[in-house]
Symmetry: C2
Subunit: 101 residues, 2 copies
DNA sequence: TAACTATATGAAAATTTTTCTATATTGAAC
DNA sequence: GTTCAATATAGAAAAATTTTCATATAGTTA
């Protein structure tokens, strides 16, 4: 079976799906929300704020970093994480609006 | 557009993650893109346009329907699918912008 | 260097998704 | 009712994710 051409090509669809998959997790959404307003928090602050094991937080943070949602900067023995694309918060609020009504 | 700045509770995080997970798949993104501009297409039109097996298309469509991204209306022996929340397209274009640069 | 704190990584088990194949259902036409 | 076309669903195998637990690495201070 042959596909007609669509406006989004396969590569774009894959990358977009990968980004969405990265944020499509309650813990990772909570992390993104926690880092709103330009906040920069280290791993300890994040896992304590969210009530997670350190290793669990670290793993989710690295997924978000790998998928370009977060960046981090090491300062001494702390790694500070922050949103690389604050517009990702708009994605969340848009999705929230689809839950209304 | 301005992002909401709310602290999200567990239920909202779960529902938001579920919605995002629903669209976080290349095939389902392609379906959403295909239904832009208010288009209403039946299952045959969709699986042929995307080069999918009928059963695969039907399964992905039902996931999108179950998660409130699409609606469908049966007309005779055809089921026409359409976007329930066209704003979901903005989600995709926002994510696309995070791939630039 | 040793001890301590903060963060990252690995790997197996558990769970969830995706795909595949076949079959079931629905509605129209006869 | 039978047949055909369109769509939906079931069940199981395959693939991808998540969780858990243990350990490793990096940086600081003594």
């Amino acid at each position: 079976m042959q596909a007609k051409s669509v406006s989004l090509d396969r590569g774009i669809l894959e990358r977009t799906a990968a980004s969405l998959k990265a944020i499509a997790h309650p813990v990772r959404l909570a992390m993104i929300d926690l880092l709103r307003d330009g906040k920069r928090l280290n791993v300890t602050q994040i896992y304590q704020a969210l009530g997670l094991e350190q290793a669990v937080a670290s793993q989710h943070l690295s997924i978000l970093k790998e998928k370009n949602i977060l960046s981090s900067k090491r300062q001494g023995k702390h790694s500070y994480y922050y949103l690389k694309h604050p517009s990702i918060l708009e994605v969340i609020s848009l999705v929230l609006t689809t839950h209304e009504g």
